[in-house]
């Protein structure tokens, strides 16, 4: 059933990471429920909001790297991870 869909390892890793992030966030939320707060972003956000913003901006960041520069996407990935971490902590 899986073979004809031609699943590839990078895509599997990508979605496993997303699923893992969601799982960790869920457990984190149950252990310590978050409240909406205001950080450096112009709007008050919850933890989930910040994660969403982080992932969406990371997607755009990666596309920008791909479309406008010749730099390796690993750099974009590193920047994205740092950005999401900053956003979750201080956003």
């Amino acid at each position: 059933m899986i073979a004809w869909m031609n699943w590839t390892l990078p895509v599997a890793i990508f979605f496993s990471v997303i699923a893992a992030i969601l799982l960790v966030m869920t457990v984190y939320e149950v252990v310590s429920p978050c409240t909406e707060r205001k950080g450096f972003l112009p709007i008050a956000t919850t933890r989930g909001d910040r994660l969403f913003i982080g992932l969406l901006t990371s997607a755009y960041l990666n596309l920008t790297f791909l479309g406008l520069t010749e730099l390796s996407l690993w750099i974009a990935l590193a920047v994205s991870v740092a950005w999401v971490a900053i956003l979750l902590r201080w956003g």
């Binding site: 004809w4 590839t8 895509v11 990508f14 709007i43 008050a44 596309l63 479309g67």
Partner: protein, 288 residues
Amino acid sequence: MNKVSNNKAWWLVLPVFILVAFSALIPLMTVVNYSVQDIFGPGQAYFVGTEWFEEILGDERLQDSLGRQFLFSAAVLLIQIPLGIGIALMMPTRGKRASVCLIMLAIPLLIPWNVVGTIWQIFGRGDIGLFGWGLNQLGFDYNYTANTGDAWATVLLMDVWHWTPLVALLCYSGLKAIPEAFYQAAEIDRASKWAIFRYIQLPRLKSVLVIAVLLRFMDSFMIYTEPFVLTGGGPGSSTTFLSQTLTTMAIGQFDIGRAAAFSLIYFLIVLLVSWLFFTAITHLDKQK
């Protein structure tokens, strides 16, 4: 009073989750998976990494199509939202006339997309269509199959005809929900019609307008059938919007990898714009 906390209710969400998984999550994952491969047929797929994305981002045809799409969606919102509010304000609030107005408004919404395209295709023709013939008789050189401006005007007019009623109906229901006491208070204050609209009706319409703007944006951004039937994307490619470019790529050329990469970029744009709209409007709500 003791508050009972029972998390077992979460199991009730499971059927919805399974449904969404099959209708949205797995198809989306499949698209992501296709976007990194070059697929020739069953069992003949080759991993190409981010090559398709690079190609799509540099493709001028797609950039033009994206520009046209944004222009179209902006025009749709700028025309339909104020017009919808205006129609809703002018509609009678009770009695038989209200029912007649509601039915008249709902009629365009009931017509299938491809029929709407066909109606306007004939309506706009210079030889047998009332609209095209009438304009030609009035001395306008109107021809939507040859003139870019005419084609755009016709596609926009068709969309306004088809979807403004939705905005009007949403606004009408929002207006109906305003308690009479608000108007009585305004009357005591001798508020002008504009003041009533600005300080009572418009703020109270905000939640339905959020839905109207979001629905109209998403629908107009994904428009396919109507312009495809009406103009076929022409003249040239002047009314070829994103989904038509995508369909040509995916089904016409069977270029699945490329089309998948394109779909993902398309999806990201819709996601970003919808989120921006939603956040901006809900945030405005909180500030007050």
